[in-house]
């Protein structure tokens, strides 16, 4: 078999060269040397089991040469494969050296043929797999799964009765005006947050948290307590957002804050 090929080599040369050039342009389209070998083997137009590994090695080496001539840089693994194929070629062409312990050229060739066949088989299988009916494309799962979920989700279980009672309570609250909560001594966190956001732009130096309390909320102890708490909470919120830095030197020491500088 190898002999037939050698005699044909000259004739095939131009053809292969042209092919190699076409391939060179496309070198990025190959997924590695094995993929390239598989493509080259198809040009032999025979069953992959009957492919001439020697011919294939020739084609590959030609390809690498062409790439060199066209000054296209090949990835290292293409060159490693070229060296290996050159070695294989010499083993296939030269009579076996009885001293040599390594595998015979035929064994090496057979393994390469196996690798090519296996790669092709995987390609075909991948295509058959992707051609199957697929979930979410051809067949579908229940669109509205009910309550059954392995996720740690919070399920709100308020009932219609809760809803109606809540509504009725808001509706009757007016009747119980004296019982409704006095909100005027409360400085909410939201108010504090709004206020802080306006002020922190100027807080370049460390400064006491207390100075951020609104004027009107500093005297009356009840108001002062509410404002302190909400201003502190708002400051924490801003630290979380990365807009503010806070520090406290000791337990119960005063709390300082400043704008976070982008460093």
């Amino acid at each position: 078999m190898p002999d037939d090929f050698v005699s044909d080599l000259q004739e095939e040369d131009t053809k292969s060269r042209r092919l190699a050039e076409a391939l060179v342009v496309d070198v990025d389209g190959f997924e590695g040397p094995l993929d390239l070998l598989l493509t080259l083997s198809r040009t032999q137009k025979v069953d992959l089991r009957k492919v001439s590994i020697l011919e294939l090695a020739e084609q590959y080496l030609l390809f690498v040469e062409e790439a060199k001539r066209l000054r296209i840089e090949l990835a290292a693994d293409y060159l490693v494969m070229a060296a290996w194929l050159a070695f294989l070629k010499s083993r296939l062409l030269l009579p076996a050296d009885p001293e040599d312990e390594g595998p015979s050229g035929e064994e090496m060739a057979a393994h390469l043929a196996f690798q090519l066949e296996r790669l092709e088989a995987m390609r075909r299988s991948a295509a058959r797999l992707m051609a199957r009916d697929q979930l979410g494309r051809d067949f579908f799962a229940r669109g509205q799964a009910e309550g059954v979920s392995r996720k740690r989700t919070i399920r709100y279980t308020s009932t219609l009765l809760d809803l109606m009672q809540a509504y009725a309570q808001t509706k009757t609250r007016d009747d119980f005006e004296p019982l409704s909560m006095k909100r005027d001594a409360i400085f909410t966190t939201e108010q504090a947050l709004e206020r802080m956001k306006k002020l922190i732009g100027h807080a370049i130096e460390w400064g006491d948290l207390m100075q951020y309390l609104p004027e009107a909320w500093r005297i009356d102890p009840q108001k002062r307590r509410s404002a302190t708490a909400s201003t502190f909470a708002a400051a924490l919120e801003l630290v979380k957002e990365g807009q503010l830095e806070m520090r406290q030197s000791d337990v119960f020491a005063r709390i300082d804050l400043r704008k976070r500088t982008l460093s």
């Binding site: 989700t153 219609l160 609250r173 009747d175």
Partner: protein, 209 residues
């Protein structure tokens, strides 16, 4: 060569048994209740989704799941007597906070309602988080802007809300007076506040008329 019969069948609606299968699959795969109009629009020309639905409902009668109407749409639901089978996996049950349930109730009864209206009824400000949470639960959505100064957004309840609370429409919500008469409420109105309530009732009726 195409036979006359085949040609005709190309333009004919599929057999009813086949249409029933289609409705079954659509209801099953859909993430939300689907209306008959929509189902039909997805079926081959000439199909009669409403008729197929009749057969499908019949088929599921007494089964572990049934076909139920929710608002304008249809959906599969676990048979009510088998609800206990779903209990195990519910990881965390939680009641809505008082602020949330009140806000939700006000939106449900007064929709479309603006934030200012909710605040006025509740007598306290509504935090952003509360409405966000209700929207996240898909119980409340943003409605049209009110054509008043400032063009505030309004909030309305969703199909998901109706679904969760087992209502066909929000008109099914009983009025405050009804609630009180049926003794569901532990809050007794203060004496003399009756007039007030009546006035409220009127307001509310207006909303749904």
């Amino acid at each position: 060569m195409i036979e006359d019969e085949d040609l005709q069948s190309l333009f004919e609606a599929p057999p009813m048994a086949e249409q029933e299968r289609m409705v079954e699959a659509i209801l099953f795969a859909s993430a939300e209740p689907v209306s008959v109009v929509e189902i039909e629009s997805r079926m081959p020309h000439g199909s009669d989704a409403a008729e197929a639905m009749v057969y499908l409902r019949k088929r599921y009668e007494g089964r572990g799941v049934s076909v139920v109407k929710i608002g304008e749409g249809w959906a599969f639901r676990t048979a009510a007597d088998l609800g206990f089978l779903m209990q195990k996996e519910r990881v965390e049950h939680r009641k809505l906070s008082r602020a949330a349930i009140e806000t939700l109730a006000i939106i449900a009864y007064h929709q479309p309602a603006t934030r200012a209206e909710i605040e006025e009824i509740r007598g306290v400000s509504v935090s952003r988080g509360t409405i966000d949470m209700l929207m996240e639960l898909s119980w409340v959505k943003i409605g049209r802007r009110r054509m008043t100064p400032g063009r505030p957004v309004t909030f309305t309840v969703t199909q998901g809300f109706l679904d969760h609370f087992g209502l066909e429409t929000s008109r099914d919500l009983p009025g405050v007076k009804e609630l009180r008469e049926s003794g569901l409420l532990d809050n007794r109105p203060a004496p003399g506040a009756l007039d007030d309530d009546e006035a409220n009732e009127v307001d509310q009726d207006d909303m749904f008329s």
